[in-house]
């Protein structure tokens, strides 16, 4: 199916649904030692951006952000959830994940697809971490310093540490997932695109 408006709409909708389901159920969090967990909910955003462009990525990012905001506001579980009820923290940063991932993918598109997809995934993961932590730091400095128990002036250092440790690991995980999904999809697409007739012709002795 060629790249049409309809395709962009349905792919964005489907991947938005995947992201929403990941956000609302425990699936979006991969357990990591130390009690923390890695999120993978930004991966559908990256996939949408790679497959259908920055606009689709922005829309799925919007769906991801709004879903995480609604969940944080109606069914909070973690200590940071009240801060994620703020759309400036949950929605605004997520709009850029797709754009960055799309840009990186276009940069490396000539090279091996798995590599380009992996780099785009990593870039998307880093964007998510940096922008969300930045938004948290800008809007909720007082609450964060209360939660972490540090003085407000030490907050940038705390956030930077989180960005480096958690963020890099999430970026690596995002690279793995994105690369796997994109290569699988390109394979599926190629297989389904070939018509049955050409199969028959090849089978003739």
């Amino acid at each position: 199916m060629e790249r049409t408006n309809i395709r962009r709409i349905v792919v964005s909708g489907a991947l938005g649904a995947v992201s929403a389901v990941m956000a609302v159920t425990p699936l979006g969090y991969l357990p990591w030692f130390g009690g923390a967990s890695l999120t993978i909910m930004h991966i559908p955003v990256i996939i949408a951006a790679i497959l259908e462009g920055p606009v689709a990525g922005a829309i799925v990012g919007l769906v991801f952000g709004v879903t995480s905001m609604v969940k944080a506001a109606t069914a909070p579980i973690g200590p940071l959830d009240p801060l994620f009820a703020n759309p400036l923290v949950s929605v605004l940063p997520r709009l850029f994940i797709g754009v960055v991932a799309w840009g990186v993918y276009r940069l490396f598109r000539g090279k091996l697809t798995p590599l380009a997809a992996g780099l785009a995934g990593a870039a998307g993961g880093i964007t998510n971490t940096v922008l969300v932590l930045g938004a948290l730091g800008l809007t909720a400095a007082a609450q964060l310093s209360g939660t972490f128990g540090v003085a407000t002036s030490a907050l940038p250092a705390v956030l930077a540490t989180i960005a480096l440790t958690n963020g890099l690991i999430e970026a690596a995980a995002a690279a793995v997932f994105t690369s796997a999904i994109i290569t699988a999809w390109k394979g599926v697409e190629g297989a389904r695109g070939a018509s049955r007739l050409s199969d028959e012709e090849r089978r003739q002795p």
């Binding site: 962009r8 649904a17 159920t25 990591w32 993978i40 506001a73």
Partner: protein, 279 residues
């Protein structure tokens, strides 16, 4: 994997089917009021604005015949968070804080200004909970998607694809139970084949790869369904000819006044404290 049974019943909001003045508003009016409450609560630094928004949210909840406890149920688990924040605020004091001390135990002291900061933080969260919870309680899924289209309809004159955007939201809503069901069936199928997601794996790359058999099939199948849906839409000539809609929402004068009221309230909440110099 824990709790693999409940995935199919996942839903983002909980619609309460009751007749009330709030339920009878058009989706656009509901969206406008939702944003009139959320935007000041998120952006404004004035406690008075947050208080006004909370009162409005409270009033709407009562008007909509929605039980307050239903919406605030989620607040109880986060109470400890505010308690811990209060404790830390008591232990560290802000430089230049000259407000009266409320409680002092040894070296820890909680000043009026710190107390106000905690209360403001809690109040903001309560307002968000009420507003968003109430919106999902009075708006059906279909109305949520149609409301997006109606809301952005003026922008479509400038070329913004309001209909396409609303359709994306509607597709996402429709796919959520389907994708959740896919997750559940993949988890069960993999568990039946002895897959154990992630335990014992070391290192981020290996741990991520352990989850591949779950994430990749679900995403690929979602994309395949999307493709089928797109072909079906094309076969029914979507995009060719004028766009029509089966359900139209008709607004009354009361509804128009509600919309105007929402915009005026938002402007007042944002600009009022600045003009009046409130705190």
């Amino acid at each position: 994997m824990k709790g693999i049974e409940f995935f199919r019943n996942v839903s983002i909001g909980r619609y309460v089917d009751v007749d009330s003045p709030v339920h009878r508003l058009t989706p656009v009016a509901k969206y406008l009021w939702l944003m009139a409450i959320i935007i000041p609560v998120s952006v404004s630094s004035s406690t008075a604005a947050v208080l006004a928004c909370s009162i409005i949210a409270l009033a709407c909840t009562v008007l909509a015949h929605v039980r307050l406890g239903f919406l605030l149920r989620g607040f109880v688990p986060v109470l400890p968070l505010f308690g811990i924040a209060a404790v830390f605020q008591a232990l560290l004091s802000w430089p230049g804080d000259a407000s009266p001390i409320l409680v002092a135990i040894g070296p820890a002291s909680l000043s009026m200004r710190e107390m106000m900061a905690i209360a403001s933080m809690a109040l903001r969260f309560v307002a968000m909970m009420l507003a968003i919870g109430l919106f999902t309680s009075v708006t059906t899924e279909g109305d949520t998607a149609r409301g997006v289209e109606d809301l952005f309809a003026p922008l479509s004159l400038l070329g913004f694809p309001a209909r396409g955007f609303a359709l994306t939201i509607a597709v996402a809503f429709r796919f959520i139970p389907i994708v959740a069901g896919e997750f559940e069936s993949v988890v069960k199928a993999q568990a039946a084949r002895g897959a154990d997601f992630g335990s014992g794996a070391r290192g981020p790359i290996r741990k991520a790869r352990a989850y591949l058999p779950l994430i990749v099939p679900v995403t690929i199948r979602a994309l395949e369904r999307a493709e089928a849906l797109g072909e079906a839409m094309e076969a029914r000539c979507y995009g060719v000819g004028p766009a029509t809609r089966y359900v139209r929402s008709v607004g009354s004068t009361a509804d128009t006044m509600a919309r105007i009221g929402a915009v005026m309230f938002a402007v007042a909440a944002l600009a009022g404290p600045l003009i009046l110099g409130l705190h």
